[in-house]
Amino acid sequence: MNRSELVRELERIVGAAGVLSEPADLLVYEYDGSVDGAVETASPSAVVLPTTTAQVAAVVKLANKVQLPVVPRGAGTGLSGGAVAQAGGIILALTRMDAVLDVDPIDRTALVEPGVINLELSEFTRGNGFFFAPDPSSQKACTIGGNVAENSGGPHCLKYGVTTNHVLALEIVLPDGSVVWTGNSGDGAPGYDLTAALVGSEGMLGIVTKALVRLTPVPPVTSVMLAAFPEMDAASHAVTSIIGAGILPAALEMMDNLTIQAVEPAYHAGYPMDAGAVLLIELDGAAAEVEETSAEIERLCLEHGSTLFKNATEAAERELLWKGRKMALAAMGRLAPNYYLHDTVVPRTKLPPTLARVHEISEEYDLPIANVFHAGDGNLHPLMLFDRRRVGDVERVLEASHHLIEHCVSVGGALSGEHGIGSEKRGYMTLVYTGEDLAAMAGVKRAFDAELRFNPEKMFPKGYVCGEVRGLRAQAAMQKHGIYPM
């Protein structure tokens, strides 16, 4: 089947308006939200915008017939290249499947199509007194389908848990084009928990066409505190003491001075420009409890040298404080043309030494590194600022990144807290997993998708799933000697 025949077939399934095949229209699907340079751009052969599950299934069947890869895509805000068609093929953009099909206030669930925007689901259900708890900073734009595929998290996941804790059941199109439901609305489903396997599978096992998600009641009282510290170190110790005191804030976020420099002039959130670090601490629950705990937090912060402590109880004030944090990442464009964002997780107690190591690396490679992260659960987001067009910058960033990731893994951390592996960090998988570990994962992949139809060239090190463990071992050995494929 040649290209125009393929386009014709696709048009038969979704209609002419749902197929894109002009080079310029495909050009804009060669990226996602990931950093220039960290993920290779690649153009698909066609983009399809289905509106129903049946269309998705039919496209997948056609792809099998013509042996083309299929890459699901939501809003394309992913940070690990997940939605980029590395091996070409058909991109299934699910942005037109964006209906909230049902809200059940008794069961506290919502049935949604994958293209529904995260924040809009919360806005939609707020009238009923609910919200969708996983709140990635990209929530204004990213889709539920993408959230499921990346098992996304956000500031409030400290208390409420990440996406997987909020997904009850999924309608999935499998790589052979069949449509199945995993899980159910109840809590215990007998048999394998396929929902759990699919959440975080990065579009490699199945395409989510509907999701039954859990809704969380809007807490009666919310208050957001801002605490400024002269040094990062003092702020990290304050974090440790808050968690150590048995307090479980709804969110606990840290931003360093460089981040404040990017955000404050843009959003006037009220972060002191001269602070070494600020903490944002959110509490929610019953009024009396929130009040009591705020006082306790204030005491702990002051004890650790906080120079400014503010408690915002008004909605507008709270929103402004949060705005700075939520926009922090994207606002980095104001400091440098490019940034490389890391997403490693370290055990909370390893936070201070890890931040010290970040600082060292920054000096060593002469790279400004901003830190903005979920301090409460040790999910670090060091952000390296650079200019792709300056010779040697990309190399320096990649090398510095390698040292950073190595450090985090060596203190018992993880590669990715919430942004996924995608094509970006696939080369690092051997740092955390043994060949056997990876082989087990590859077994799951093959069980779902023996032909490697869905989202190829992701997550597993290059040539792994179809290759063999020996090749992987060789790669691991190469990495040990400082030669690491990206």
């Binding site: 804009v28 996602d32 204004k140 734009a141 843009a266 990442l329 994207a330 606002a331």
Partner: protein
């Protein structure tokens, strides 16, 4: 003509497949980190779900042209540069501070320069945009003819015969309010009460002064009541916004220079505008003329003086309105107010000071209504979809009236309302304030009182 004479003065450059005048600024272009945060705010993306119809997609295409990877004249590029409403919603939400407006305008200017257009099309564009707007007197003549048409009964006949339908002009005609008042001619009218403390100079606007002259007069009255002495400096022209949006930069520059000259004769006092689209354009004269050695500095001074009427009024507490306005209204935010000028709180705070008035917010109040300059004339389908969406949200509020602050939005809303069969009035925010102050009658009384007192004082 002046247009050709000035052409050679601006700088010409090369950037990939861009070349000549008005090449998009490479640094501005690269500020986009393709994070995607702007996607949901973009009306065309919301309607199509296609990346190419999103700000990020359009910026990526521009970058591809700048990198020499995409032909300037690629049909998809052309399509996207013009499908964009230039509503600037993306700009207002972009965390990286990407200046989208100037980039899409430059890209259009590039297309205009390099696109081989059939001769008749060029001529038609000139006739449609360049000719009537190049001199305010021409437009006045045209509108006078239209008024005659509306009054003469010819309108009724034409409507009955379906001539308008056949010409696809029916909706166009419906967009226009009945034009009854005489155009506001610069230099001929001014507003000032006895207690004036400040001065302001009204930007008359081409459509505002001819199609909506009463809104301009209401603006004068409301300002006078708030202690401003207001005049309408002569020599001013159309702001050039429509030209900038259509990539006709040289024509826009000619108009900009004339406006700068017209207002230079007044001291460094505020230049007040009541059409959001004009205000946004006037506030960008500094960018438009940045490469003009004679005008760059003057344009900066001009730009610094421009104020939207709501911005100017909200700077001080309002003079207490005299009579309650017992209505429920909803506010349609003009893109060029909310996004391009980031003025969103001020109109609401003004409406909040009117006794009896209840403001209910509609969903997506700042999503483009589809007017977007002359977009609704050249891209009917997309504009209609956006207009219908807007009307649906407005009607859902149960308001008695839609308040806006831009003539284009008002016209678009009227058309969409008519299509939906609803009969909600659409009014400019200044008209509501004027009503609260008692309108023309109250103003006349005040002026009379002021004159009498003045005479008394003189005779004392």
């Amino acid at each position: 003509m002046v247009v050709e004479a000035k052409l050679t003065e601006a700088t010409t450059r090369n950037l990939g497949n861009f070349s000549g005048l008005d090449v998009p600024d490479d640094t501005l272009l690269r500020a986009c980190v393709h994070c995607g945060m702007c996607l949901p705010s973009c009306p065309t993306y919301r309607l199509t779900g296609q990346e190419a119809s999103s700000p990020r997609g359009r910026l990526w295409m521009m970058r591809a042209v700048a990198d020499g990877r995409l032909e300037l004249l690629d049909p998809s590029f052309d399509e996207q540069m013009y499908q964009c409403l230039n509503c600037r919603a993306c700009e207002a939400v972009c965390p990286s501070g990407v200046h989208y407006g100037p980039l899409v305008e430059a890209s259009r200017a590039q297309l205009e320069q390099h696109r081989p257009r059939p001769v008749w099309q060029r001529a038609a564009r000139r006739a449609g945009l360049a000719w009537p707007f190049a001199d305010i007197r021409r437009l006045r003549t045209m509108v006078n003819a239209l008024r005659l048409y509306q009054r003469s009964g010819l309108a009724k006949v034409a409507r009955r015969l379906g001539i308008l339908q056949a010409l696809r002009l029916a909706d166009l005609e419906a967009m226009l309010p009945p034009i009854s008042a005489a155009p506001l001619v610069a230099g001929k009218e001014r507003w000032e009460l006895r207690d004036a403390e400040h001065s302001a100079h009204l930007f008359n606007g081409c459509v505002m002064s001819t199609v909506f002259p009463e809104v301009n007069r209401a603006t004068g009255r409301v300002l006078a009541l708030n202690r401003y002495a207001v005049d309408v400096p002569t020599g001013q022209q159309c702001c050039g916004a429509l030209h900038v949006h259509s990539g006709m930069m040289e024509e826009a520059r000619v108009l900009a220079r004339r406006n700068i000259e017209a207002f230079e004769t007044t001291a460094d006092e505020p230049i007040v505008v009541n059409a959001a689209g004009c205000g946004a354009a006037l506030k960008e004269y500094d960018f438009l003329l940045k490469d003009d050695p004679d005008y760059a500095e003057r344009a900066r001074r001009f730009t610094a003086r421009v104020r939207d009427i709501t911005e100017l009024l909200a700077a001080h507490p309002l003079e207490q309105p005299r009579q309650p306005v017992n209505r429920t209204v909803t506010f349609q935010e003009p893109c060029h107010l909310a996004h391009a000028q980031r003025i969103s709180v001020q109109p609401r705070s003004l409406l909040g000071q009117v006794e009896g008035l209840r403001l209910v917010e509609m969903r997506e109040s700042s999503l483009c209504c589809g007017s977007a300059g002359i977009y609704n004339v050249i891209r009917r389908r997309m504009a209609d979809d956006l207009g219908d969406r807007k009307v649906k949200h407005a009607l859902a509020t149960g308001a008695d009236e839609i308040v806006t602050a831009n003539p284009g939005c008002a016209m678009q809303l009227r058309t969409s309302l008519r299509r939906s069969g609803a009969t909600l009035p659409v009014r400019h925010i200044v008209e509501v304030l004027d009503e609260a102050y008692g309108g023309l009658d109250a103003h006349r009384t005040l002026v009379k009182e002021a004159n009498e007192k003045g005479e008394q004082r003189r005779s004392d």
